[in-house]
Every structure is written in C-alpha cells, then in structure tokens.
Amino acid sequence: MHYLWSMTPTIEIEKLSKSYGKNRGIEDISFTVQAGEVFGFLGPNGAGKTTTIRAMVGLIKATSGSVRILGHDALQTSEELRSRIGYLPGALTLYPTLTGWEVLRFFATMRDRHLDREIAEYAERLNVDLHRKIHDLSKGNRQKIGVIQAFMHQPDVLLLDEPTSGLDPVVQKEFEIMLAETKSRGATVLLSSHVLSEVEHLADRVAIISEGKMVVSERISVLRDRAVRKIELAFDHEVQTRKYLAIAGVKEISQRGNKLTCVMAGKGTELFRLAVEDGVISIDTHETSLDEIFLSLVKIENPQ
C-alpha cells in the first residue's frame, strides 16, 4: 500500500458541483482525506452529503469539479478503483427475496472474491442471522448486512453514508471497533452523519456542509477552539471589566457582583493570566458541545 507513505491524500475532492435544477444539489465541495484517517462528513439532512458520496462512487455524474481517490479519477468509470472501495448507501435496499447469505455471496461473486469466512465472521460479530430472507429482517439487521458488504473485502477506502442509522448501541460499539481495525490497517474512512456527537469520538477531522455548500473542514480540536464558549470567573472583590473586554477573542462580558461571565472564542490563556493577576477564586468553563458548534457554524453560513 504505497499510498500510505505518499504525500497525496487518499481522497481529494476539488470544487465538486452537481446541480439538479433549482435548489437541490451541491456546489464547490472541496476537502481532502489522508490515508489512514477517519473523516467525518457532517451536515443536516438534505445538505448534500449523499449526493457527494454518490458522486464519489460514480453513481451520479458530477456537473463540474474533480474527485481523486487512491490516485484514480473517481468521476471516470473505474472498476479497479471500485474494487478497493467499500460503500454503504444512505438509503440501503437489499434484494428482499434473498437471504443474507445469498445477498452477501452475490456481492462477493460480483467482486470476484470468495469471502464466506469473512462474511461468517462479521455476521457473528454483529449478531445477525444470515439464513433469514431480507424482507423478514428488521431495519437494524438489514443495516448490519449493509455494513458487512462494505467491510467484507477489506477495502482501502470506506465510504459510509449514515452507517449507524438503525443500529442498537451494542452493535454500534462493535461497529466502532471494526472502524478502529480498519484504520489501524491503514485504510481510509469517510463517515457521514447528521449528528456530530455520533462521529466526534470516531473522526480525526470533519467537514461540515449545509445546503450543498462547504461550511468548514477542520480538525475537531480546532473546531472546539474556534467555538464560542462561556467562562465564569469568581473573585473576592469587584474587578474592572474594561481590560477583560480588550482581550482578543472575548466577545461579551457581563458582571454580577464579584462574578464575571465572559463569552469568548479561541484560547483562554490571556484571560486566565489576567484573572490570576486579579486574584481569581474559581474558574468555570462551559465546554460547548460540538453539536452547538455545528449548529452555530451552519447558522453563521446561512443566515435565515
């Protein structure tokens, strides 16, 4: 796997656009995913995540832009590339009259692979009965079969569209272990979700899109730093608010008795230094949840 050590990203999307008439579609989506990275692809429902992923798999033709995966032009039909991709569609539908085994064997044969051992192993791990017909399975169990078909051939790139939808917490845990294994063998994962908390502990970096446009593509830690948070400082005497307001990143200060509440973005070093000088007694920081960051970013980009 030479690309592991090479400089080029495993996934490189540049100004990808797909228009479907007036409102839907995506516009100028750009991001890169490095080898061995788990990348979260986030956005509200209908933001264009599925459209982007389907263009990456070659199911829909992009209007403009480029997608390179493992050095291949993914917008051109490339069977060789697709043999190295595992894809889980957002709206998963499997052949209803076949059993789990039959469906998975069909996909394995179409990949020119014999994967009975892998299929059996994953089925046991995810606890799904492969002898039942698809139409007799619950949504969660169908999703497990979808997950198995994406993982079974040990792909170099996994494109998973809302993979955990319908999975119960125990299975989700197992799915996360599978993801970690995939990552440790050097494969690259793109994971979409409309809930940030679902991917924040899995992903190294995330891209957020909204209404078909890129909002941000960043490391989660950087996003946290960029986020606005609330810091409460308690003193044993009244302090001057003016000098606190002058600190870079502080947006708002409110004073109630000996207590200061600062709303700030970025690093708090300067604020804390000043507070210590003023003899601060206690510091309470309210960590903004990533979902709040997510919502604020989406809102900033798209003022209603």
């Binding site: 829909i60 539908t93 052949y95 179409m110």
Partner: protein, 266 residues
Amino acid sequence: MMLTIFKKNWRDHWKTFSGWTLGIVLMSTIELSVYPTLLKSGNGINDFMKNFPDSVQKIFHMQDYTSGPGFISTELFSLVLPMVIIAIGSSWGSSAVAGEEEAGTADLLFSLPVSRQNILLGKMFSIISALLAVGIVTYLTITVGSSFVNLQISRTFLASATVLIVLLGFFFSGVGLLIGAVVGKKALAVGITSGLALLMSIIYSLAPLVNSLDVLNKGNPFQWALGGRILFEGSPWQNFFKLFLVSTALYAASIFVTNNKDIRTQ
C-alpha cells in the same frame, strides 16, 4: 460476473416465466386437441369464417382455417403467442435497469467493480435466453402435438414463424429496456411499452383497410413478424434481419443511456 448477473436475473423472473411458459404449453395443447373435432365439422367452419370481413380474415389468417397451418396461424400465431412473448420481453426489459432503480438496489449494484455495460449485458443475455427458451418450448409443443393430430405443417415454416415472434419479443424487450433506462420507473416503462405494442398492433390490423396506414405499416415490427402467410410460405429474410437490427440497436441505445445516466435512488 456477467454470469452471476445472468443467473440472478433468471432467479428474479423464474416464477413468472414458468407461469407464462406453462400457459403457452397448455394453450397450444388445448388448441391442437380440438383440431380433429374441427376437421370433422368440415366445410361448415370454413363457411362460417368467410362471413368475417376480409380484413379480419387476413389478420387472423382465416382463409384456410381448416388446414393445419391456417388453424395454427389463426389460433396461436396471430395473437396469443405474440402477446405472451411481448409480455415476457417487455417485463424483463423494463425491469433490467428501472426495476433496480425503483427498488433502490441499483445503488449497491452499480457501485460494484463491474462496469454498467457488463451488468447490462448479463441481464440482456438472460432476456435473450428467456425468449429463446419460450421459442423452443413453443416449437417443440406444436411439433410434438401436430404429430398426434396430423396438422401437416412444415417444420421449416413453423420454425420461421416461431423465430419471428421471438424476434418480436426481442424488439419489445429492447423498447422496455430503453424506456426503463430513461424513465427509471418499471411500471411506467411497462405501461409505455405495452401502449406502444397496442398502437403498433392496431396499425398492423387496420393497414389492410386504410391506405395511409398501409404505408406506415411497412415500418411496423408487427408486420415484419406476423405479416404474410408465414406458416404456408415462410417469410422473406429481410423481415428477420430488420427485426434483429432494430432490436439490437435498441439494446445498444440502452447501454449508452445507462452508461451516461445518474443512477436514481429511493
């Protein structure tokens, strides 16, 4: 991989296919078994047939109703067999692309490392094999049956008539395929294909009466497949060729459309 698709498609259609084929066997057997009774009634039936308007007589080949070839032409080859074979062709054709898209299974199918063209070719070969199978069953049923009831039918001409209706099925499977690939909805594709078949059959049946339709009918696949006294005299090679050529063109167009389309999802 193409073979996998081929087998999968057979599996998807196996039940309805068996139903239709069994229908053809039963229908043909029943028709053949009443032929001796018909012969006994002799000229009475022929006189009865002569009461029909000329055009109807022509379409249903009633002129020689009591002869073996005439009887089979009227009872089986003018309506029943073409209908069944068109039904099989148009439903297999319409579901090839549109069926997968409508069900939502197209997303995973076309994400596999097999080109769209090869997936489609696998399906196409299965459609052609199904139509050939129906043709062989039809030919064998009538050949075996006719030896019991002394139909006095030329095996060559019977083979010609059978190949022609198989080609008509091939044509309508191509229409179904192409429309299915364009619209992405199976029921709509079957509807449009059936409507087109109905329209073409009306033109075919009215052409002997209306001069302007007669010109139009020259380019009508129904005319190519069913026109003339095939079971008596065979059919010119051009008819086979035209049906084959147009159907192949429809298949090629379906591959082109599928290769260049956005796969629909649910």
